[in-house]
């Protein structure tokens, strides 16, 4: 692979070594998964130093972009762009309903993935994880613990957990007719469960009664609601359901469940988090329309449904509309040769083509991808790190320090 060195995105002088928090810290929190095993490590051994000005640029970009994404949802609804966005027809009515009633169907949280932003370089949006973002415990707690354990003071942009508590408080107030009961669900992968349980802690702090149950054990009734069976023959009903299960998975792979959820939401029996309209923000095709609407926007990359012509001599990235962990991504250089590529399980979805934007890096070998959490306002910064251009399932988590 050709190495691309861009001095102005170099972070090699920003590496701040840390002392890892104790094993006991992870065990106490039920987070042994983060400690990895064998040759696999997930938590990096350093933080990345950011100036306050740089942090502010990321924060401003997230603030600005969220408003544009809201505008984009309305645009998709007004113009019925469901097919272009890869959204199954069985989800459309619920998207319209949840968007119309978004004061009650609140978008709890999302995460912007950026490029650029270091040494005065512009912040560029790679994508917005609006439906089921993870890295919540790492961002909210672990990077803070790394900083404090290494005695680096208390200088991070990180109010994520408090902000998540505030979002649940707002949710409760916006739904006065519902009991404060929320069930948290994921599909069984340990990382997803840890993330769901961290959200559960935030809801509990906001005076919700909470529980966690894997998707396969949750009882769904189109007439009566969402339940978890107890040992005594009773079942507990929940008025809110947090799902770390992607909407596109439910709509494409579990149409019967989709049908039940549509009835429950449209009849006001359940409020789902994140709401159905978050899938409009999640679809990478939305970025094509956002760019069309705002071609000169400083944080938007040119995005198209067609690959650039060879004559354009443009570096670009091919992505599927709904892909995760870098799967089904290919990065092309000016000569249309692949610079980096990942196969994957999401090839059935349509593709978009986005101009390439450089990530902060060390010597064009190790790349850092900045992330900003959104909870109604920007809440935290963190990074992913990988010795390749594509951030995949082997990426490490890296915290930050304001310097």
């Amino acid at each position: 692979m050709e190495r691309v060195v861009q001095e102005d995105l170099s972070v090699d002088k920003r590496i701040i070594p840390i002392v890892s928090p104790s094993e006991k810290y992870f065990k106490t929190n039920g987070w042994e998964w983060f400690l990895g095993g064998g040759e696999w490590t997930y938590l990096g051994d350093h933080l990345i130093g950011l100036s306050r000005m740089e942090a502010m640029e990321y924060i401003r970009a997230a603030d600005d972009l969220y408003r544009i994404f809201e505008e984009g949802v309305q645009y998709v609804i007004d113009n019925n762009l469901w097919m272009d966005l890869g959204i199954h027809p069985n989800l459309v009515e619920q998207i319209r309903f949840s968007w119309t009633h978004r004061e009650r169907h609140q978008h709890l949280y999302g995460r912007f993935d950026f490029a650029g932003g270091i040494n005065g370089q512009p912040v560029k949006l790679l994508e917005f994880n609006a439906d089921t973002p993870t890295t919540i415990p790492e961002t909210a707690f672990i990077q803070r613990e790394q900083m404090i354990h290494t005695k680096l003071g208390n200088n991070q942009f990180n109010t994520l957990f408090d902000d998540l508590v505030a979002t649940f408080e707002r949710l409760g107030k916006a739904n006065p007719g519902k009991s404060r009961t929320v069930l948290f669900t994921s599909m069984g992968h340990e990382e997803d469960e840890i993330n769901a349980r961290t959200m559960m802690r935030a809801a509990e702090a906001a005076n919700f009664e909470v529980d966690y149950e894997p998707l396969e054990d949750v009882i769904f009734s189109a007439d009566d609601g969402i339940f978890v069976e107890e040992d005594n023959g009773e079942a507990t009903r929940y008025d809110f359901w947090f799902k770390l299960v992607p909407w596109e998975y439910i709509s494409h792979e579990e149409p019967e469940l989709m049908d039940i959820l549509n009835k429950l939401v449209l009849n006001g029996k359940v409020t789902i988090l994140n709401p159905a309209y978050s899938l409009v923000m999640q679809s990478k095709a939305l970025m094509k329309y956002l760019y069309d609407l705002h071609p000169n926007h400083p944080h938007l990359l040119k995005t198209s449904f067609e690959a650039p012509s060879r004559n354009a001599r443009t570096k670009y990235v091919e992505k599927v509309l709904f892909g995760r962990e870098g799967e089904n991504v290919t990065i092309y250089d000016e000569n249309n040769f692949s610079m980096d590529k990942r196969d994957g399980n999401y090839g059935k979805y349509d593709k978009i083509y986005q101009d390439y934007a450089e990530l902060p890096n060390v010597n064009g070998i190790t790349y850092y991808q900045p992330m900003v959490y959104w909870t109604g306002n920007p809440s935290a910064i963190s990074f992913r790190k990988r010795d390749s251009l594509i951030m995949d399932e082997d990426s490490e988590f890296i915290g930050h320090l304001l310097t």
């Binding site: 995460r111 994880n129 439906d131 089921t132 973002p133 993870t134 890295t135 409760g172 006065p176 007719g177 519902k178 009991s179 404060r180 009961t181 994921s186 599909m187 069984g188 992968h189 990382e191 997803d192 993330n195 005076n207 919700f208 009664e209 894997p214 998707l215 396969e216 054990d217 949750v218 009882i219 769904f220 009734s221 189109a222 007439d223 009566d224 609601g225 339940f227 069976e229 107890e230 023959g233 009773e234 079942a235 507990t236 009903r237 929940y238 008025d239 770390l244 299960v245 992607p246 998975y249 792979e253 579990e254 019967e256 469940l257 039940i260 999640q282 995760r324 962990e325 399980n345 399932e393």
Partner: protein, 154 residues
């Protein structure tokens, strides 16, 4: 028949397939109201008691005197009477959980204006609903089974 117990195990909510639902209590409720200024009553606390027959309203007046009403006594107060002391107390408790005992629809939420403060209302709104699992209509589970090997996070 669907049996739901709301607010802990306080009410049995019965539905026999039709759209009209009736509410039967399985536990009692004690609602405390306080006269915070002349003729203005607010709910300061709501707590359960094992027997429905022990349900009551305890009113504390501005002069510090207290008075208790049973649920039946409260129900007998004319709903249109908003001028008498009992009428005002009835109107206040109707906005709280006691309102469900007195016939308010389950779909109607509690009123913030009936409560002395947010904590008093929050206490009543934290409520788990329980149902006999055999009575869930058309309940289905097992979705996503066998697909748990990978992360679905972003």
């Amino acid at each position: 028949m669907l049996t739901l117990a709301l607010f802990g195990a306080m009410m049995i909510f019965t539905s026999c397939g039709g759209s009209s639902d009736e509410v039967t209590m399985t536990e009692g409720l004690i609602t405390k109201v306080k006269e915070t200024q002349k003729d203005l009553f607010k709910i300061t606390d709501e707590s359960t008691t094992p027997n429905v027959a022990d349900s009551r309203i305890i009113a504390t007046y501005l002069d510090g005197k207290t008075e208790e009403f049973t649920l039946e006594e409260a129900k007998l107060v004319d709903a249109s009477d908003t001028t008498s002391r009992r009428g005002r107390i009835r109107s206040t408790v109707m906005g709280g959980v006691m309102g469900y005992y007195m016939g308010r629809a389950m779909s109607s939420p509690t009123r913030a204006s009936s409560y002395a403060n947010k904590a008093a209302q929050t206490k009543s709104s934290i409520a788990k609903s329980k149902v006999s699992s055999s009575a869930i209509k058309g309940g289905k589970s097992g979705f996503g089974k066998g697909r748990s090997g990978r992360s679905f996070g972003g």
